[in-house]
Amino acid sequence: MNGRIEYWVKIPIGPIHPALEEPEKFIITLDGERIINVDVKLGYNLRGLEWIAMRRNWIQVLYLAERICGICSFSHNHTYARAVEEMAGIEVPERAEYIRVIIGELERIHSHLLNLGVVAHTIGYDTVLHLSWLAREKVMDILEDIGGNRVNYAGNMIGGVRRDITEKHKRAILDMIYYYRQEVMPKIEEVFLYDPTVEARLRDSGVIPKRIAIEYSAQGPTARGSGIKKDVRYNEKLGVYPDLGVKPVTPKEFTGVIKGDVFDRMVVRVGELWQSMEIIERALDQMPEGKIKAFPKDNMIIFKLKKAEGEGIGRYEAPRGEVIHYVRAEPGRDGPAKWKMREPTFPNLFAVARALVGEQLADVPVAIASIDPCLSCTDRVAVIDANTGKRKVLTEVDLLKESIKKTKEINPNIKAKPERIGIGRCAL
């Protein structure tokens, strides 16, 4: 060798670490403070939700979907409801769609406020954490008012929503928006756009270039922070969103530059707070009168879905990025034969792990927090041999082989040959 000795240290961040809200593991190889390699290990938060779902009926799965994650509890059950509606061809009343928009945007406000606080906490700026979570209490109160619960508001039903938004709720929501516009947003903008400490720490850290964001299929604010105009509400013309003027928010509108760093992701979140408030106001204005459910009684849904057959896909832009739910029904069965979802955290996590190579250790917690990881959504698959009880980890090669097999099965004419990109083990 050339006689140079490398003092590399491997340090584990996780499964339990003060910077992480949920169990996940990053094995970081360090040369001094510089990161050489990041290896991501998942699977500490598996609860076997898909297995449970196959033993429940269609309506019970709604409540299970809500408990996938505490923050996007509405997003998951909304997406599931959309998937089932598409599968069975159920028409949703327009008022119900508007109510879904309102609750969904309220959830986005609370999720983004939470994340702004968490990112501030990871750089040791605890005052921002406490004040932004204090501001978040207001929207939590509204959600409790509408749904009867702070976290799991159970707003959705297949073919509509369970609770109406009354005149009283409308007044409370408008009050809340006034409070946010006057008191909270100026301070949040001051901190996240102009504060020198925040800028020193967040600028140029955890940079995900546009090319990497596309290759790793980053979602939500992570993709938009890198300058990709990707928002399911806008691109897929979801529900009544096109009437409400939704647009993907990129940092260009605020700072004029797109770097794809942590700062840009935070700017996107601040922009989406403004946008969500506008959407809620417009939705409250335009909301028509009428029914809120396609079926007046819940057992009618089960009765209809028992005869349904086929598959359905629901897509929705959760606060962290795009959520996709897939359901398959078999006739005679009162629950899904297969239920599968894909969350934004999974691609985002690998994109950010790739972005961390070459940066400092101090950037790790803040870069991880900036994608707003939700591991309880992500960990759902563990392959265990029922006879021997042995756990098997599927590598990229296995997954690629399986997916080529499946594609051939569906469409034998496809000729393209996908290649490995080496996820999880970044090249040295």
Binding site: K10, E33, G124, T127, H130, L131, L134, Q360, L361, P365
Partner: protein, 329 residues
């Protein structure tokens, strides 16, 4: 006999400063909590923490060596020794000519022992924390030493009994010079010292070695029980001592002569008033500073020291020197 009194005085001082510094930690947590719209822990929480830690089992990692257990004891011993050379509203107990060097040496030694203890623990987090602590240590002392020596050198020319001793501040102080240039230089150095104080107690910008969300308390990652309690106490003492230095340089006035006291009563009144001033300085340099800032990266922190504070210290010192030498009149 004199030595005996001095030793008894040191023990009394140790007990008092332990109490006062832990009390300040409680006050600080309460004040910061109020700034963040929280209720905060009870005022005496640091005392409860300390007592509880003392009674807890101390877990020693398998890969730790002997120094791991020795380091907390040494750190506390050095902090206590440091008290003998600290101005506390009256001249240090063991003040002699040139004792400022002992003071700086002991103050740095505490950080050094923390680094040794951390490296001995064998934890990767502690190792990274130790690296960071070492980098900060070599960066932060230079501006402080430059400022301190300049001020002492300047006071020398006013004729003090013990040159280059911290006792000098109680004979003459820097504000007595009275010229506009001296005022400007002193204000610049005051700013340097407040920033140095924040980095010495590792808050706000400089909470880098013990960064909770990055390296899980860094050097203290593996310490628990009694060993951690000793480190906490020595940290609290160090905090009080560092703030005492700033108070002694810039705000040394006592009140005992104004209310006509002498002897032991004067000492007690002076130390109480000194404690009050220490709390005031710490309120600015610790509570407010940590409420309104976040943590920097290590490279940025080093830059703050070498690009901002060190030139500021040079300019402040030069202004004081020019004032004395009369280069420009």
């Amino acid at each position: 006999m004199n030595l005996l009194y001095a030793t008894l005085g040191l023990i009394a001082l140790y007990l008092y400063v332990s109490f006062a510094s832990l009390l300040w930690e409680g006050l600080d947590r309460k004040l910061v909590a109020r700034m963040q719209r929280r209720v905060g822990p009870p005022l005496l929480q640091p005392f409860y923490d300390f007592l509880k830690l003392m009674s807890k089992e101390s877990i020693i990692p398998k890969h730790a060596n002997k120094f791991y257990e020795l380091a907390p004891v040494l750190a506390l011993a050095v902090s206590i020794a440091l008290l003998a050379y600290t101005p506390m509203g009256f001249a240090p107990l063991f003040a002699t000519k040139g004792d400022v060097i002992v003071f700086i040496y002991l103050l740095t030694l505490i950080g050094f022992i923390r680094v040794l203890g951390a490296i001995s623990s064998g934890s990767p987090y502690a190792q990274i924390g130790a690296q960071r602590e070492m980098i900060i240590l070599v960066s932060r002392e230079i501006p402080m030493m430059l400022g301190l020596f300049t001020i002492l050198w300047r006071l020398n020319h006013l004729g003090v009994e013990k040159p280059f001793s911290l006792a000098a501040f109680y004979q003459h102080n820097i504000w007595e010079l009275g010229t506009p240039l001296a005022f400007i230089g002193t204000f610049i150095l005051l700013f340097v010292f407040l920033a140095w104080l924040a980095s010495e107690i590792e808050v706000g910008f400089f909470d880098i070695p013990e960064a909770e969300t990055e390296v899980a308390e860094g050097p203290m990652a593996e310490y628990s029980g009694r060993h951690l309690a000793l480190f906490e106490l020595s940290n609290a003492l160090k905090m009080f001592v560092s703030a005492s230095l700033v108070v002694a340089i810039f705000f040394p006035w006592g009140i005992s002569t104004y209310i006509g006291l002498s002897g032991t009563a004067a000492l007690i009144v002076d130390i109480l008033f000194h404690t009050f001033k220490v709390f005031a300085v710490l309120f600015i340099s610790m509570s407010i500073f940590r409420a309104i800032t976040g943590r920097l990266r290590i490279t940025q922190a080093v830059q703050v020291f070498w690009v901002r504070l060190f030139p500021a210290a040079i300019i402040g010192s030069l202004i004081l020197a020019i004032d004395l030498l009369g280069v420009i009149a």
